[in-house]
């Protein structure tokens, strides 16, 4: 496994964000080229949250993820070729083709499972926290999930368990509620954090598009949890990418053009607002270039490196065969 990006390194966070973005763009192309690949829940637009949180973790920390998990798996160092292969149902996929786009799992990168049942990962992550605590481990358990997940009773129960037993769990809520159409959550609470707070769980709310803000919030959260102070609810506010449709995502904002970070007047089209205000990747590239952390050239070079890596990864995946139907009954029991 590839090591996760060096902690606290802002350039590494940006690099990770580019990787996450380009990975998902390629997934969308894969879905267009191979119609059977099915529904995709892309992580586009969540990169600042994902990369910044991952930057605060150690390889021993354990993840339970949801249907919208590609970004995390890649950010933690899973092989992109095997990830593409999994999304395509191929033999060399991370799960041998059994999981597909909703269930990418790489145990060596710290992933225990991906539940696409809304609320599933929250309960399981509390269990991983219980296991780690029982084992006397210093690692923590992380689960990310959407705002809509708070509607499910199991999520409430899980938060309560984590709080009563003071378990080392980071509840990372990616709140992409404002999608213009129907919100993914229908919660009577004034604010999402009112729920964990009612259960005496410390809640931290940050701007999920701002990688620096997320990294800071995650740092505080992880320090608390690792210090034994119990679970933390970290809510990152995001706005859903305009291309994310439940059945068929599209490219209404076009393929990412990183030079828009410094050529802002070129941003146009129906969704220019999203790119200008909600695209955390563009914003972070601009921040790092503006404050002199990175040159424009280095940013574009990173992007080229990522694209090359992913081109090879896609080739690997395309070349991978389907699993042999005779293997159908493998791995039912351990």
């Amino acid at each position: 496994m590839i090591a996760p990006p060096a902690a606290q390194d802002r350039a590494a966070i940006l690099h990770c964000m580019i990787l996450m973005r380009r990975f998902e763009e390629e997934v969308l192309r894969i879905a267009q080229d191979h119609p059977y690949v099915g529904r995709q829940h892309l992580h586009i637009g969540h990169e600042a949250t994902g990369a910044a949180v991952v930057s605060q973790l150690t390889p021993d920390d354990l993840f339970h993820t949801t249907h919208r998990n590609h970004g995390y798996v890649i950010a933690r160092g899973a092989d992109p070729g095997r990830a593409f292969a999994e999304i395509m149902g191929r033999k060399d996929g991370l799960n041998g083709g059994r999981g597909g786009p909703w269930h990418l799992c790489d145990r060596s990168a710290g992933f225990l499972s991906t539940s696409a049942m809304v609320g599933g990962s929250v309960g399981l992550a509390v269990g991983a926290g219980f296991g780690l605590k029982t084992q006397g481990s210093n690692a923590i358990s992380i689960t990310h999930f959407g705002d809509g997940t708070l509607d499910e009773g199991i999520c409430f129960e899980a938060l309560n368990l984590a709080s009563i037993f003071s378990l080392p769990v980071l509840f990372l809520c990616e709140n992409n509620a404002k999608e213009g159409q129907r919100p993914s959550s229908m919660l009577a609470a004034k604010a999402l954090r009112d729920l964990p707070q009612a259960l005496q769980i410390r809640a931290i709310v940050v701007d999920g598009r701002d990688a620096d803000a997320v990294a800071e919030g995650a740092k505080e959260a992880v320090a608390r949890i690792r210090g034994g102070a119990g679970p933390v609810f970290l809510q990152t506010n995001l706005e859903r990418w305009p291309g994310s449709h439940q059945t068929k995502p599209e490219f209404p904002t076009g393929v990412t053009d990183l030079s828009l970070a410094w050529e802002e007047d070129r941003i146009e089209g129906k969704h220019a607002d999203w790119v200008r205000e909600h695209d955390g990747l563009r914003a972070y590239a601009k921040t790092l270039v503006d404050d002199g952390s990175l040159s424009r050239e280095r940013v574009l070079e990173m992007d080229r490196e990522v694209l090359e890596l992913l081109a090879k990864a896609r080739e690997f995946a395309e070349a991978s065969p389907y699993p042999d139907p005779d293997s159908l009954m493998a791995d039912v029991f351990a």
Binding site: G38, N95, R98, A116, E152, G153, Q246, Y322, P323, P325
Partner: protein, 323 residues
């Protein structure tokens, strides 16, 4: 009679019920799913959109809400979407809806239809492919319908919506786009009566839901090879028309069951057991079941395909009973 899509027929049943009963209420969005035939819900949405409540992702409480409202006298239709999600509401379906009438000594009625899409759907993988019909059928107090033609979809849903017992309507998304003749005048198809979808003399194939389409296809292909199969579609699982099924088995002397769900403790097992109990002396060969093998549904297309109890596997099973 007019040729209509299954999706249209289903919506007609809801629209007519809404017309007739001003108290009738619906919970759940996307009654026709998100596929090519979803737009057929328009007649319902336009006229009765205000009767439909869009709930949060809280299957247990949503089921309870429908049950409690029905207990309070409101006729309800509750749509769950993917049947897999109902596994968050099992306790409510079985231990509340299923027992209420009996446990109250007949005082409480639950006029309610739960609708859900079961089955393999290409790429649903291990968590979005559930066919829970056999699990639910193991419990008392819940009627269960699985119509497979537009005519039956409308007529059975109408019948279920008129009665005062809770009914699970377990549907398959692949049926929405099938077409068939639907009566123009109001009608109902009573629960508990099987339909012979194809008459035959050599073997009985009992299949449910989408698997009926596979069974009919298999029967046509078998006919070309000189095997004349009878295809029985129970249509309603609870109550089950055991009489008609047993009569067909006794007539042909052979039985293959087809179940899109897992095999163990399935509707297929139940039908095979009926044969062993009530048609043993008339059987000329071993019974065979075609169903999912016991492995979580894999995402990979050729693996999912390999576990699908489609026409090829049905034909192989039929031939094996003659071996």
């Amino acid at each position: 009679m007019t040729k209509k899509f299954y999706a249209q027929a289903l919506i007609e049943a809801l629209t007519e019920t809404a017309e007739e009963d001003p108290g009738f209420a619906l919970i759940g969005r996307g009654i026709l799913g998100h596929g090519a035939h979803a737009h057929f819900d328009k007649p319902l949405m336009e006229r009765f959109g205000d009767r439909i409540t869009d709930p949060p992702t809280s299957e247990g409480a949503v089921a309870s809400m429908a049950i409690g409202a029905a207990m309070a006298g409101t006729r309800m239709f509750c749509h769950f979407g993917t049947a897999s999600f109902t596994l968050e509401a099992v306790n409510q379906l079985i231990h509340e809806a299923g027992v209420a009438h009996s446990m109250s000594g007949g005082q409480i009625k639950v006029p309610l239809v739960f609708h859900m899409y079961h089955g393999l759907r290409r790429g649903g993988a291990g968590q979005h492919s559930s066919s829970p019909q056999s699990m639910y059928a193991n419990n008392p107090g819940l009627q269960m319908i699985m119509p497979t033609t537009p005519r039956d979809a409308k007529g059975m849903l109408r019948a279920a919506l008129k009665c005062d017992s809770p009914t699970l309507y377990i549907d398959h998304g692949a049926l929405l786009g099938t077409e068939g003749e639907v009566p123009d005048e109001p009608y109902e198809v009573p629960l508990g009566r099987a339909d012979i979808r194809r008459e035959g003399s050599d073997i009985t194939i009992v299949a449910t839901s989408r698997a009926v389409l596979w069974a009919v296809e298999a029967a046509e292909r078998l006919a070309a090879e000189g095997i004349d199969a009878e295809v029985v579609d129970p249509r309603s699982i609870v109550p089950l028309d055991a009489e008609a099924i047993v009569t067909s088995i006794r007539k042909t002397g052979r039985l293959v069951t087809v179940d899109e769900g897992y095999q163990m403790c399935s509707i297929g097992s139940e039908i095979a057991a009926l044969a062993a109990e009530r048609a043993m002396d008339a059987l000329k060969g071993p019974v065979a079941r075609v169903a999912r093998p016991p492995v979580p549904v894999p995402f990979s297309p050729p693996l999912e395909e390999a576990m699908t109890p489609g026409p090829d596997r049905i034909i192989a099973a039929v031939k094996a009973t003659f071996a």
